[in-house]
Symmetry: C2
């Protein structure tokens, strides 16, 4: 039975990418060797790493603009620490829009003072704060572009005079932005880019070298840049699958092409949430709704068993909301086809008719 995979992450990847990845596990580049049993310093794998790094910059429009792309281990959670280690000398400014922002703040506090410029915590993060002041003497400003758990997304980024750092784990490569506004972007691969186990870091080199602390090698962006993202053995398979996914996106027409489909998917689902009397959206302000993760509830909890049964019958997977929010969450990452959202909307309408 065909599955419609709305998982919040790790999440759906393009079928063609999965196919090629499985083939490479058995026989990589017709070498009669597996991708995962050859040296990461071999010509074939170095080419994978170089292509992945180059495609990432190309998609973001950041080639030849002083940026470097790295594929590191440790997830975005490791970047919470690494970013602060490399950039936080005295104090940093953080916008707190959810669980991951809060975790980023927690790790940064190991290194220096953190100014929380705004937070929506008292409303369980159901909106994106706006019109906050960013202190000009902070070392950098940090924000989270999309909040997977709460289903909010920053639609307009502030103008900053200090470097802007952004955790884009759950919406990178999903929409066009002026990425040159950011000095550091990081993203765990397991949403729009690949499997868990590698993290993209895109960094403007001129922001480095400004803190006085000694930085251990594995936490030092400069070390990783100098070693072309291979200071030590990288996560070979996750990097390879990420490269394939970035190539798939390029073949589709890049971010601007996928953004159109993402907008169609989000419109289709949010229109149904707003129209259908059985459901209500979680996010307080419509302009803050995420196009990646739509959070919503049944108005009548007694229909839960019926709705869940319909979802199961339709082959819909991964629609449970996160425990901090409850209800449902439909994650509509790049690889999710419009057809899957239509199947979900059909289920919502079927339950409405039966109710």
């Amino acid at each position: 039975m065909k599955k419609h995979n709305f998982s919040a992450g790790p999440c759906i990847l393009p079928q063609s990418v999965l196919q090629k990845s499985a083939e490479a596990v058995l026989n990589f580049n017709n070498s009669n060797l597996s991708l995962i049993e050859i040296s990461h310093r071999s010509k074939d794998f170095v080419e994978v790493m170089d292509t992945a790094r180059s495609l990432a910059l190309e998609h973001l429009g950041l080639q030849n603009k002083g940026y470097q792309a790295l594929f590191l281990q440790g997830g975005a959670s490791f970047q919470f620490l690494m970013a602060a280690y490399n950039l936080l000398e005295k104090k940093a400014a953080y916008l707190n829009t959810g669980t991951w922002s809060s975790n980023a703040i927690k790790e940064a506090k190991f290194l220096g003072e953190v100014v929380e410029v705004a937070t929506s915590k008292s409303d369980n993060f159901n909106f994106i704060p706006k019109n906050y002041n960013i202190p000009k003497d902070a070392d950098y400003f940090h924000c989270t572009s999309n909040n997977t758990i709460f289903g909010t997304q920053i639609q307009s980024f502030p103008e900053t005079e200090i470097p802007m750092v952004c955790d884009m784990s759950s919406d990178i490569f999903s929409r066009q932005l002026d990425f040159s506004k950011f000095s550091l972007i990081y993203a765990g691969a397991q949403k729009n880019m690949g499997p868990a186990g590698t993290t993209l870091v895109v960094i403007k080199e001129d922001i480095l070298g400004k803190v006085t602390r000694a930085i251990p090698s594995m936490l030092n962006y400069k070390v990783q840049i100098d070693k072309e993202s291979m200071f030590n053995t990288p996560a070979v398979f996750p990097v390879y699958v990420s490269m394939l996914t970035l190539q798939w996106l390029k073949d589709l027409g890049g971010i601007s092409a996928i953004e159109k489909v993402n907008n169609q998917k989000a419109d289709l689902l949010y229109n149904e949430i707003d129209r259908n009397p059985l459901f209500e959206g979680y996010v307080a302000k419509k302009e803050d709704r995420s196009k990646m993760n739509a959070t919503f509830n049944l108005r009548n909890e007694e229909l839960k068993a019926t709705f869940d049964d319909h979802l199961k019958q339709a082959g819909i997977n991964g629609l449970n909301g996160h425990r901090s929010v409850g209800g449902y969450r439909a994650s509509m990452y790049n690889a999710l086809p419009l057809e899957s959202v239509q199947v979900l909307v059909d289920v919502m309408q079927a339950v409405e008719k039966g109710a």
Copy 2:
């Protein structure tokens, strides 16, 4: 053409493991979903992580002895730092037997004083120092069990009164040891355990909580233990392949069974290196030779082109020595069949006959 894969790492894995891994990338546990597109908190993946952790302890004979097994990201290089972060209060004692020991020492120095108890550096690490003193007031003693680059291996570990920490990246699960002598063992997966991208950490819980510094979450063993190795999204695919490899090893009869084969492979190759007048071993003392990585040279460099051509014809892959040593290196990890070593020995004898 069948390949004989002597790669130093990432390295050969069992063919049955590769086959199952490729299948799981397409359809995991008959779910019609890929292993790499489902939640790491799903029942199916939590079971993978739990099984991998439990099998690791079982193989080492450390179940119910106060140890925890973790599968973390970052490689052994990250453990150089993490071990020191969690254990180094004032000073630590390190045995320096090669490149990786030296790197471990470098990272530990970010956290405190390092006493190098002995080193073979002046001889380009071609032997394992013995009869050194370990200061009793050090927080721990650190050593590297096997030196992939130089082809040496510790055959007898010291008795210590302080916790013993060991980087076993390149020989874990290859030979029987009294693993309860160690308080912390870590190993990058990409030799005897799985693909690059995950690192096994086996830690005796009672050594934790003794340093006064605040430890950031991603560097804190206690945090990872409390979250059952899922503080953040783990490297799903590398952990899965590691689990399969640990199961494969169990089906074979465990460490004691594979050790017999490893001894046969090492004996076969070293006997040929010692017998064949064309070759000489790199390691100065035979008792320090590694059973995982045999380093050797051609006595007559003019035969290099001939030997290399024979290797290629025989389908032998990955035999080039590391640039710090030169010559050749035959890595004979658990998954390399005895047959492949025989093919290599046949080539060495064929070149001898032709020379």
